[in-house]
């Protein structure tokens, strides 16, 4: 009898326990920190500019946010008033604030949604902001719990707000386009540097290295209505299919912005950027045109996977950096060069390639010394390999850097010649 009562009690307890657990399940669906998708505005690009309001410096925050799907068929308030017909699904919304976070929260003065930065792909910094210093911007981004270290940092000419409002030509979202363009750059062109948030902060806090980030250039596409395009044999689709291209500004990622400390001090042009990439082991693929037996460039060498090594040599007060760049690739184009596959011709071609690579590297070195910004991390190299010597010169590295000598020795190997062996001989 007692046993049965006990059993019944147990059953009742179990039922209550089940009910309690079921009730507890209701609580698991939500918490204080729920961030529902309908309350968020997903941000893909972030632009930061310096503006002056009543003479006081303020930050102008421009966000490239993804437009909610339900609104896409509706009104025509796309990015730069365009977008809809182009398949663009983003729009630029800007706000100002005395600090960056102030601007982030002021963004909500005109928006019904929370700004969600977790999907931010690219941080665009306006030229003026960059010249004043990007320290605050990086500090904000590093401290924010949503912003990722792998976010790309670019500096644009003009203001970041204008840059974000430019058109994307190939992707639905402008930030995606910039990111992909940067990703494509190193293995295919190698004429613009790549820097993510981690890289930039790393270069800023480590001694003996200065940050370089990709440069974003805006331009109006020259193609539509251009005589060259209209006369083109393959231009039928351009003229008939979609009609002329709209004359909005579009992006290009080219060259590099050079910083000294956290301040922008100048730019590296495309060939200089390539030199920088060669010397820092980042060039993964691209074309080197050479002039073979001619005054004009008439052959293209396609390099892949280059390597480099830096060796500091100290002679008295003079610091010399011996840089070796080596790599391989193939000859992909020659017009009248008449390069045969024999040892003499190939060696001669290799010598020309090496000279061109060395020229690009030295151009980069000259520019960086002119800007007094050690973008190659030469000082860092001394710090790593000769810590004792670095203790003597580390404090004065920025003054010493313009006086260092850079010697570049390139060693490239022509591995293949594409699908053809001897050049075509035109009669």
């Amino acid at each position: 009898m007692l046993k049965r009562r006990k059993l019944r009690l147990k059953i009742i307890i179990n039922i209550f326990a089940c009910l309690f657990l079921a009730a507890a399940l209701l609580l698991t669906g939500g918490c204080w920190d729920r961030r529902e998708i309908q309350d968020l505005s997903i941000n893909t690009g972030l632009g930061i500019d310096r503006i002056y309001v009543d003479g006081k410096p303020q930050f102008l925050l421009s966000t490239l946010t993804v437009r909610p799907a339900g609104m896409q068929q509706g009104g025509g308030m796309g990015s730069g008033g365009a977008g809809q017909e182009d398949g663009c699904n983003d729009e630029v919304i800007s706000s100002t604030g005395e600090t960056i976070y102030d601007a982030v929260r002021n963004w909500n003065l005109r928006s019904s949604r929370q700004l969600y930065l977790s999907h931010t792909l690219v941080l665009v910094i306006g030229e003026e902001m960059a010249r004043e210093g990007i320290g605050e911007v990086l500090e904000f981004a590093r401290r924010h719990r949503d912003v990722r270290l792998s976010m790309h940092v670019v500096v644009c000419r003009g203001t970041a707000r204008d840059a974000l409002q430019a058109w994307s030509e190939f992707e639905a979202n402008a930030a995606v386009e910039i990111t992909k363009a940067i990703h494509q750059n190193l293995p295919r062109v190698a004429k613009a540097v790549e820097a993510d948030l981690f890289r930039v902060t790393y270069d800023l806090v480590n001694p003996g290295i200065e940050p370089v980030v990709s440069r974003l250039v805006l331009f109006t596409p020259p193609e539509a209505g251009h005589p060259a395009r209209q006369g083109d044999a393959a231009g039928s689709s351009a003229t008939e299919g979609r009609g002329a291209q709209p004359q909005n500004k579009v992006y290009a990622v080219s060259g590099a912005a050079v910083f000294r400390g956290d301040r922008l001090v100048g730019w590296l042009e495309e060939e200089e950027s390539q030199g920088l990439l060669f010397m820092t082991r980042k060039a993964l693929g691209g074309i080197i045109p050479v002039a073979y037996d001619s005054r004009h460039r008439n052959a293209s060498f396609h390099f892949r996977a280059t390597k480099s090594s830096v060796k500091p040599v100290i002679e008295g007060n003079q610091i010399i950096f011996e840089v070796k760049v080596c790599g391989g690739g193939q000859l992909l184009e020659q017009k009248n060069a008449l390069i045969d596959i024999n040892e003499r011709d190939i060696k001669k071609l290799e010598a020309l390639i090496n000279r061109e690579v060395e020229r690009r590297c030295l151009m980069a070195a000259a520019k960086s010394r002119k800007l007094e910004a050690d973008v190659f991390g030469f000082g860092n190299c001394i710090h790593r390999t000769m810590p004792e010597y670095w203790k003597q010169i580390g404090g004065r590295w920025r003054e010493i850097y313009p006086t260092v000598q850079v010697q570049v020795k390139a060693d490239f190997l022509v591995e293949h010649t594409g699908l053809m062996s001897e050049p075509l001989e035109f009669r």
């Binding site: 918490c31 204080w32 920190d33 719990r145 270290l149 792998s150 981690f198």
Partner: protein
């Protein structure tokens, strides 16, 4: 002995290992880089391991003299009735205090990195309630559950470290010993209190089913956690460089956030999982120790009476003296460094000395095992 649980040597190993690593793995590279720079991986490998081995040796010798009793049980026999009780009270306070530290540290990470709107108290209560359930069920359950936690822990950590290796660069580990050995030793003071947690063998010794393996297990834990902490630090330093690490509050969290291999991104949730899992085990061990110690000192048979008071005390402590990250920071970089060593090495050392001099040992128990 108030409890009839039995744990094996492997379980003891995993228990002591998780106790140490669960709260250190997340922050250790950042903490060490501040003092030791590029050499931080050396810190946890050499000087701290030496300290840990010393603690292990002292504690196992002390516990071996009273193999069937928990530390706080034989304290009065070694030190005398009242001094023993006072020492036991100090240890109870220490356990509760450390539980409060663990709690606030654990909740703080979740609060700052993920759930910013959720009050700390809510996170702390959730963590505590699971830990308390474990304590209620006894040490054997904690040890068994910990085996699962260990597997999860090692798997996730190895996976994440492997994924981030693509960013690893040996250059970041140079120069080696730029400023000599001194910064390395100085940095070791910051983390010795965690390695010293192997002293917990004092509280776990009587539950062991093979007591003769205790020293080997304890020193194994010390060496193994030295190697794993060193590996974590090495990877973090190799990826981020020593200059960037000191500013990172949760350096491994940042490391995992940096992973991006194809579609494999946003893997920090793994960190949360192992963080919470390890934290619960650690909390459970400390609350268990506090309540067992309290039961002995006050002469009660059942330690379960003291679970709730100990838990509440830990909660209140963590809500008052470790409310802000400034308070935590001051504790860890100030007196907190040496505070734990008193309980881990100094007091057990003195007690061992006293026990040897006064020839106190549990002879009957020693022969039985």
């Amino acid at each position: 002995m108030p409890e009839h649980g039995r744990i094996s040597s492997v379980q003891l190993f995993l228990l002591l290992y998780i106790t140490e690593i669960s709260t250190t793995f997340l922050i250790i590279p950042g903490v060490l880089a501040k003092e030791a720079g590029t050499d931080s991986w050396l810190v946890s490998l050499v000087p701290v391991t030496v300290y840990g081995l010393a603690v292990a040796l002292v504690c196992v010798s002390l516990a071996g003299r009273f193999p069937n009793q928990v530390f706080t049980e034989y304290l009065p026999r070694v030190a005398g009735r009242w001094p023993g009780k006072i020492l036991a009270a100090a240890y109870i306070f220490f356990f509760v205090h450390v539980a409060a530290v663990i709690l606030s540290q654990g909740a703080n990470y979740i609060h700052t990195a993920f759930l910013r709107e959720t009050p700390l108290l809510a996170i702390e209560l959730l963590l505590l309630s699971v830990a308390v359930y474990g304590v209620y069920l006894g040490i054997e359950v904690i040890a068994r559950q910990n085996t699962l936690v260990f597997a999860l822990f090692m798997f996730s950590l190895l996976l994440l470290v492997t994924f981030v290796l693509e960013h690893f660069s040996f250059k970041n580990l140079l120069p080696v010993l730029e400023n000599g050995m001194f910064p390395v030793l100085k940095a070791s003071a910051l983390i010795i209190s965690w390695r010293g947690e192997v002293f917990f063998i004092l509280m776990l010794y009587p539950y062991l089913n093979r007591k003769q393996e205790a020293l080997r297990t304890a020193s194994g834990v010390v060496v193994f956690s030295g190697i794993s902490q060193s590996a974590i630090t090495l990877v973090a330093t190799g990826v981020f460089g020593a200059a960037l690490l000191p500013n990172m509050v949760f350096s491994i969290h940042e490391l995992v956030r940096y992973i991006s291999i194809g579609f494999l991104e946003r893997m920090e949730v793994f960190i949360v999982v192992i963080w919470v899992a390890g934290l619960i085990v650690k909390l459970a061990i400390f609350i268990h120790a506090a309540s067992t110690a309290a039961a002995h000192t006050l002469g009660l048979k059942n330690y379960r009476w003291f679970i709730v008071p100990a838990t509440l005390a830990a909660l209140v402590l963590s809500e008052t003296i470790f409310r802000t990250s400034l308070q935590q920071h001051e504790f860890f970089t100030g007196m907190g460094r040496y505070y734990a060593s008193i309980f881990q090495l100094l007091l057990p050392g003195l007690l061992l000395f006293t026990a040897v001099i006064r020839k106190r040992r549990d002879r009957a128990g020693a022969e039985k095992t």
